[in-house]
């Protein structure tokens, strides 16, 4: 009898088939055919997952389907797909979110050309297949295969708008940074393989957990680094906000709900290995909560909805990493599921609201949403509430509460972590509600004076053609999930085999208050004009704004005192300097702690210089994203290196050749052409021979 687990093989197949059919060029496909194929490929995995999930929830939840076996010398490598509670849950979530996003994209992308549409959906389907493969992987090779393929798709999808230099540069940045982190993961996985002599997760994880050598620590750290990179955790986070240059469905699926969170999933997957080292655990928890706090703070000061959501993803995944670090991977998975729902919802709703606006995805484009796109706006509110963790009625509250409780329960350090996480929760609520409140503001005047017709009319035109059900259904489904999904959190955690952590009443109560505190903050930032202007102005060097008095007293003043104290500054206060400092603070936060600049200075510029030095070529243009310092550095190095063109070794060889030519010039001068000189040669030769003869026959 066929095992029901064989269905596992079918899960990634539909999107893969869709990718192949869409990607193979010789087939001619019309627009409608492309959309149908894409939709089938995108939705089918969910329906394949359903019976599997049923089997799994029915209790028989450990199925391994071997794909094939490789003989590697002495060791055998068995590739397999694995069905266990974790992969079932995550797979189901990914399949569901993927189906929703692809459905949504049918409408959203409808004004693209057929060729671009094919490419887009081919890649989206490939991504879905890769992600499902990774989630269901039963061995490290398949796992890494999916993992890397996701990265590749991410590169292509961010750079979907190939004519846009920022998009291409953002794609490269994302790819390079994640690939850098993946190198750590690969190293970790290979070392694990060498330790356990197997790649099968069901063999390797128990084997890995029992290692007691230094290697264990190294492997755990390597895996952690890989996870941090993929999940855009500090210090690798810079790629994620840039990645928002991709289309909104891409951001919704890859760069929030699924791929980015894969790092947390990986940590949960390998938690028996990673988390049996207290040091690694502590590092993970520290990075998690630090990233969560940092991401939330940065998100507050964003003026672009998608970037805001990107920082939010960074922050929320920080919570998942924190949970894993606290030794509660099950809680992390719970948050993963919930986060996937509400974050994709937020992206989809925001995308729908801002679609076609000539303000792009700026916060201002949200204005008037309630009137223009009521469904999307309501969905957005639901998502934001879930993100902020409005108690009881949203799913977000349940999962976040589980994380906070886990922190509280960990002991004295846990309480510190809890405190930080609690503050983060407040910040979360602030940024979560900012777009919601922004949308209540009146629309800016110049919207209607868009140069190329009325964007709204354009959108309506497309919608009329495709039917807005493609937009509405995903929004409604995801909104429902974000609100009511909370009831699933506890079953999920217990299904994964862990206790649902419960905190005492006081911290729980405090945590429940956080969203409301955040709401107030958000209202202040939105409706107090000077504050709003300050946030706005922080992004624009040329328009410095004086901040509101109260904000000055409560936030800026302590900060400046702190800075003065830290830098031992005893000089009298200088208003301009103070102002400079406060602008710098906000700008620092809003640009993701300037890690981009740090990377630029520490990695990119030396790298480019090295390459230029080695290859000595006159460079063309470089990344337009923040390329000014690079260009300057290039100009400088060129002035020095320019004359020394080419590959150093090549130059060495060519110089030797030239030297040989010089010797040649000297050598040929011997041949003077005078017969007397020739005779002299003869005489000298004879004399030499005579001397030799004399010397050798002397006695």
């Amino acid at each position: 009898m066929l095992s029901p687990y064989l269905l596992l093989l079918l899960v990634p197949s539909p999107p893969l088939a869709a990718f192949l059919m869409l990607g193979l060029d010789p087939f001619f496909l019309r627009r409608r055919a492309v959309q149908v194929l894409a939709l089938l490929g995108g939705v089918a995995p969910f329906f394949v997952m359903l019976p599997l999930a049923a089997v799994c929830f029915g209790g028989e939840c450990h199925g391994v389907v071997p794909v094939f076996t490789l003989a590697f010398g002495q060791s055998e490598v068995a590739l397999a797909l694995l069905l266990d509670p974790m992969s079932t849950l995550v797979g189901l979530t990914v399949a569901a979110v993927g189906a929703m996003v692809i459905t949504y994209a049918i409408d959203y992308m409808s004004d693209a050309g057929v060729a671009d549409l094919r490419r887009f959906f081919a890649l989206m389907n490939l991504f879905l297949a890769a992600m499902l493969t990774m989630v269901l992987a039963g061995d490290t090779i398949t796992f890494f295969f999916g993992w890397e393929l996701m990265g590749l798709c991410s590169f292509f999808l961010i750079a979907y708008n190939t004519g846009l230099p920022q998009a291409v540069a953002a794609g490269r940045k994302a790819f390079i940074i994640t690939r850098f982190a993946d190198a750590f993961l690969l190293a970790g996985l290979l070392l694990l393989f060498l330790e356990a002599n197997s790649v099968r997760l069901d063999v390797l994880i128990p084997a890995g957990a029992t290692m007691t050598e230094d290697r264990h620590l190294v492997i755990a750290l390597l895996l952690l680094a890989g996870a941090l990179g993929k999940s855009a955790q500090v210090p690798f986070h810079t790629w994620l906000p840039s990645a928002m240059a991709g289309p909104t469905p891409v951001s919704a699926l890859l760069h929030s709900a699924t791929m980015v969170a894969a790092g947390a999933f990986m940590l949960a997957r390998f938690s028996p290995i990673v988390m049996s080292e207290p040091l690694v655990q502590a590092i993970a928890a520290a990075f998690g909560v630090g990233t969560a706090a940092f991401g939330a703070l940065s998100a507050i000061f964003q003026t672009d909805v998608k970037r805001l959501l990107a920082y939010s993803s960074i922050s929320q995944i920080g919570f998942m990493v924190l949970a894993v670090g606290l030794g509660a991977p099950e809680v992390a998975i719970g948050h993963f599921v919930v986060h996937a729902m509400f974050k994709s919802l937020l992206f989809l709703a925001a995308g729908d609201i801002t679609h076609g606006s000539d303000l792009g995805t700026s916060m201002k484009a949200m204005r008037g949403a309630a009137r223009r796109r009521p469904v999307a706006y309501v969905a957005y509110v639901a998502g934001a509430a879930s993100l902020a963790g409005v108690p009881f009625i949203t799913a977000g509250w349940w999962s976040k509460e589980a994380v906070l409780s886990a922190a509280w329960n960990t002991g004295p350090f846990g309480i510190a972590i809890w405190a930080l996480a609690f503050l983060t929760a407040i910040c979360t609520a602030v940024y979560a509600f900012r777009p919601v409140l922004e949308a209540l503001l009146p629309e800016p005047e110049h919207r209607s004076r868009a140069p190329h017709g009325h964007p709204l009319a354009l959108n309506l035109h497309h919608r009329a053609r495709i039917g807005s059900g493609f937009i509405t259904v995903p929004l409604v489904v995801l909104a429902t999930g974000s609100m009511l999904g909370g009831v699933m959190v506890a079953p999920i955690i217990s299904f994964l085999g862990a206790e649902v952590p419960h905190a005492p009443h006081l911290p729980a109560l405090l945590a429940a208050m956080a969203p409301f505190a955040g709401l107030i903050g958000a209202a202040a930032l939105t409706f107090v004009p000077s504050l709003a202007a300050a946030v706005e102005g922080a992004h624009d060097m040329r328009r410095p704004t004086r901040l509101d008095h109260k904000f000055q007293i409560w936030v800026i003043e302590p900060y400046i005192r702190l800075i003065r104290w830290l830098s031992r500054d005893r000089r009298p206060r200088d208003a301009d300097l103070d102002f400079e400092r406060q602008v710098r603070l906000i700008r620092w936060l809003s640009r993701g702690a300037r890690m981009d600049g740090v990377y630029q200075a520490l990695v990119v510029r030396p790298f480019v210089n090295l390459v230029r030095w080695l290859s000595g070529h006159r460079g063309g243009g470089v990344d337009p994203v923040g390329s000014a310092p690079v260009a300057l550095a290039l100009r400088l190095t060129q002035a020095v290196v320019g004359p020394l063109a080419h590959d150093r070794f090549d130059r060495f060889w060519m110089r030797s050749a030239n030297r040989l030519v010089r010797i040649w010039v000297m050598a040929r001068a011997i041949q003077t052409g005078r017969s007397r000189d020739y005779a002299l040669g003869l005489a000298l030769g004879t004399a030499a021979l005579l001397v030799i003869a004399w010397g050798t026959t002397w006695n």
Partner: protein, 102 residues
């Protein structure tokens, strides 16, 4: 004839040879170079005669005759060349015949 005489004669022949060689190196006129060549060939010829006289065979004399004949042939060729060179290139000085070089 004893060994000492042979040595003296051989030294003489070597001296003749060396003188000829020196002439070849020192003189620039083609004609004198040809004369030096003759001298160079005379050296070994004397050597053969001396060797033949010392050892008492006919080989030395035979070689002497052979050398004379070939030296004559050589000089004949040389003179012919000299005339041709004068006609074609109008040169007497061997040092100016340096068109082929390097």
């Amino acid at each position: 004839m004893n060994a000492a005489t042979l040595s003296i004669l051989l030294l003489l022949s070597a001296g003749l040879f060396a003188t000829g060689f020196f002439g070849l190196l020192a003189r620039r006129a083609i004609l004198f170079q040809l004369i030096s060549l003759e001298l160079m060939l005379a050296g070994p010829a004397l050597g053969f005669i001396a060797g033949g006289a010392y050892h008492g065979g006919q080989t030395g004399q035979a070689m002497f005759v052979l050398i004379l004949i070939l030296a004559a042939a050589e000089v004949a060729l040389g003179l012919a060349l000299y005339l041709a060179l004068r006609r074609v290139a109008d040169v007497e000085d061997a040092d100016t015949i340096t068109r082929l070089r390097h």
